[in-house]
Symmetry: D2
Subunit: 346 residues, 4 copies
């Protein structure tokens, strides 16, 4: 911790801060600057609480932590990338993973048709919402368990693994019976009751970044899941909320590159939610491959103009096929980079 005292802090206030830091179990290093006193506190403990307490003392201007607030998810803790293995696929390794499917599971024929098409086009996994987080209570809320059953049917028919969202700690066990990966939506990234419950399942978790969450907060939410017992977490950039309204969200692709410096966890990109516009999904998907993401989530619907949700950002099946073709050479460059990285790591 580095504590900056106020310009006009008194000798007595400085001494009280020094004493309090020692009481809290830290060693004190004072620096007398030209303008003010700065105090370094070295040690191990409940840093957040100490910071807040020190910041509350008279004469203190600010108190900032120097160490990262997360541990298990950091690159320092584990220098090699985590690989998440599920249903014969390995995300985070040498293979680029495309997960595709509709916003909502709507009917047996809809989900089966989509599953077969995306499998044929090269997707590794099927996505589809059975529990839907909708802004309005009057919007379609999902088929719930019925939807989960249809996803299982689609898995049986195509062999595709299943990614689907869970919205409450009370539903974790049920959804985990059907899904290969549990998705946590952006609005639940800081639903801490849910994060704790996810620590108790063995299913991998795809954790979407909250729409106004910092990269550090995303890592802290991943740390919750890992600290509560489940190390299999994938992160997902899906756009953040900014002043720009021409796109549904602002896709923070640089975050993908920064995350791969900070953490060993795989990082996915969801260009459908990130842009909200079908025409922008292919270019953003290519950029996500080029920047080194581990995979993509793409919304695909057999009939976007009749979709129960997210129609404007869903690709039709021919559009998805075209995208997979166009991504081909980009993915080959990606594979070469991963290969080179792997051999340099050895």
């Amino acid at each position: 911790m580095i504590i900056s005292m106020a310009l006009h802090a008194t000798r007595e206030q400085i001494d009280q801060v020094r004493e309090r830091i020692q009481e809290l179990g830290y060693k004190v290093h004072s620096i007398q600057g030209e303008e003010r006193v700065v105090i370094g506190a070295v040690g191990v403990g409940d840093v957040t609480r100490c910071l807040e307490q020190i910041e509350a003392m008279p004469g203190v201007e600010s108190a900032v932590r120097i160490s990262a607030p997360y541990k298990f998810v950091s690159r320092e803790f584990r220098s090699v990338r985590t690989r998440i293995r599920v249903n014969g696929i390995e995300i985070g390794g040498g293979e680029f993973a495309v997960i595709a499917g509709p916003g909502s599971v709507e009917s047996e024929s809809q989900i089966l048709e989509t599953a077969e098409a995306v499998a044929k086009a090269g997707a590794k996994m099927l996505r589809g919402g059975a529990y839907k987080a909708r802004t309005s209570p009057y919007d379609f809320q999902g088929m719930e368990e019925e939807g989960l059953k249809l996803l299982r049917k689609a898995k049986e028919a195509t062999g595709l693994a299943i990614l689907t969202e869970v919205m409450s700690d009370s539903d974790v066990d049920l959804v985990a019976e059907y899904a290969d990966i549990l998705q946590i939506g952006a609005r639940n990234m800081q639903n801490f009751s849910l994060l704790k419950a996810l620590g108790r399942t063995t299913r991998p978790i795809l954790l979407k970044r909250g729409m106004s969450s910092t990269i550090r907060e995303l890592l802290m939410s991943a740390e919750y899941i890992v600290a509560h017992g489940n190390p299999n977490v994938l992160l997902c950039e899906r756009g953040i909320r900014t002043f720009e309204t021409a796109t549904r969200n602002t896709c923070d692709l640089a975050a993908v590159a920064l995350l791969s410096e900070l953490t060993h966890l795989p990082v996915m990109v969801d260009p459908s939610h990130a842009t909200g516009r079908r025409s922008l999904v292919p270019p953003v998907a290519k950029a996500a491959v080029a920047i080194g993401a581990d995979g993509l989530l793409i919304e695909v619907h057999p009939n976007p103009e009749k979709a129960y949700s997210d129609g404007a950002q869903s690709l039709s099946i021919p559009q998805f096929e075209r995208l997979m073709q166009d991504l081909g050479p980009h993915i080959r460059l990606w594979e070469q980079t991963r290969l080179a990285e792997g051999s340099s790591a050895v």
Copy 2:
């Protein structure tokens, strides 16, 4: 709904949109502009789904709703302010309500000392967290049910009503046994499982605005609770996340005035979380009174520099007493305005 066709939309695309709108049960009005065709769709139905579907059609530039997406919480539905009565207090009426207390319940002596002091200074209700939403899994997570029991003791000792947070749908019944008002934190404003569960309790709900939630989204989340059966909702502005980091959040006070145009629900302000700095709590509190908020949530701690959470933004007991004195003349102006409003409404 107003649908703008793209500049180069074909005759055929326009006709398909017109047909689809009729299929969906709406009446069609086309306007041939200088540059493009605009189509009005009039009727009643699942507007969101229709919008998304129409927006997904070829040749469509954009589709926007004209009607408000919420109903029960709107001023159109109910023109007089809702008054929430609890424990002899009435929020939303002619009396300004101050709710005060510590960020976290920490011990019996801490909560009793605070309760007695804030009651004496004029607070109407005690706040205190037993379940804490913390960014880090390593931070203090609250005393949970033990904390609820201490809040009950404080109520018995002082007669103050209790406001405390609930974080999961599985905890609603338990917390409702102890609390007079259930608080939903900013991070859970769009935890839809929780919102639905709140619809099933009879306790009033204080719903905090999410840190990146629009005013419309706040109203939609309130609509969830009301539509699921509980009409007793209070809204709370607690600062939004912006680029500015000099304050913890940016307090959107104009939202309070706008909300009172749009909804009949009471609107509270939390200057402690909105600013994150103790010195800014009193001026923002005064501004909140002047702009017409129905009440304030203020963090108070007998010893902020030893608080388990939120020390830097908590007032000490003498600071709170001073604030209550300073607020006096502002509250008297507020009462005159409410009185004038009341008589002009008759």
Copy 3:
């Protein structure tokens, strides 16, 4: 400066940073933390350049300044409020100042009618744009020098001082001939050529906060003007750009309170631009008085629905008269607070 070395920084990198800091003329204090080394650099010099250079060195995680980057505008430099005297008015002292008028000067009759009405209602100064900053090249760009002449006529007729905007360093001298206070619009807050030119005039400057500028950046822009020779600067909060679109901007009223801790310069509020909605101007104006602003800028037009610009946020003359009446008791509370502050300062 506090420099945090990376977790895996080598001994050699740490030594190079220490040497470089000394080369740059600072004294070095190292702190060996549990995880990493932190280096304090104490001294006086071109801090920004040093920070950037140190941050560019291998093994450095971050380098942050501890001292404030501004000097002349800070409360440390001058502890009493600056009072700006113009045309018999004194802003920043014991009198609350209301500046009112139309967005644009449109015609002699329009500006004279407005000037007389706002003077009668109690405004201290007339605002009106002769040079207009418009997003589109096809929008009304202002009457330019012709408009300045009409403002002078209005001043002669009513005795009101004049506030009007200058947009380019080439126009400063011309506008300064007509205006009592030169306004710098939000979009020009970091037009550094203009700021330097303003340092060379003796007219007071009203500097509006840029719509995405931090409080620190606002103070740095004021520092530009003062450092280039003109100490008469007023700051103005006019709303910042956030994700919320229900209001034109988000009025950051807490910034007013924070600014009065950080600087001795007067701080005004412009509720018209901050909200963009006429109905929100009165409540935000009241809140600005309560939070301790030194004055208000209010858009008033004799016929808002025929205004050349900003009609939706302009008050009509009767609305402005009503506002001035309603503000009365709030301004009296404000005066008592200033008086008390003044006597406690003695």
Copy 4:
């Protein structure tokens, strides 16, 4: 224009709006919805003024434009990409353009060494600031005309064309003597006096997006330059300001793809300013190529840790050489896409 009347608008208010629209020269189309009346206004005129005036009328909820507010820069106006030819290079065509150089021109040896190195590594143009926009008046403000002369020397030595910033309308002629392309910095994107002056030069303009400017506002600023006489405008995405502080700005790469739908002007990306971190420049550069940008601006310095500005985001010369090598295969994919696009356009 589409005007939505308020829910409780009276018959009289609706009639007044209809009449006013006709007075303004538009044709009126009313739609009687279930809840409210919506009025379409069709015609040609000063749309912004009309919108603002109508919005100011009693009973009006909102008034929105349907047509795009820009014309010359739109894809509708010109369907093929504009190619900017300068010094034998053509930006916007079939060749990817890399512009590289230091943040500031500091000395003859510094700029010559950099120019030779970036030319050898494959850059098409040299960037370097002679007039610097700095947040603080105490930071290095650039070598001004002396710096321009050094840039000319570097051009003579290497044959590289020169890109450099102009900050004031008074400097346009001078800078245009030395520079092949004039750069407008993010802080001046809405310096309308400067934009008008740029319309009078024949030099191409590189217009950087303001850090809180929407895509539409960027296009409007380009429209200013074109409408005032200079059609040679390049746009540049350089990151926007958001709540995220882990990177200096948030690089809005999706904006590049959206811009190429909306405008025929070339779009560049500046990953150095967009991220502020040297390690993120290469991945963001690759993503910019993949998403279809027309070129890159890269900060390169022979000795970043002694740079007068922007050291932390500048690549060293070996790092730049490595980047150019790594970009190779990505640029070859880019060329194939452009080629395919070109032949499909024929």
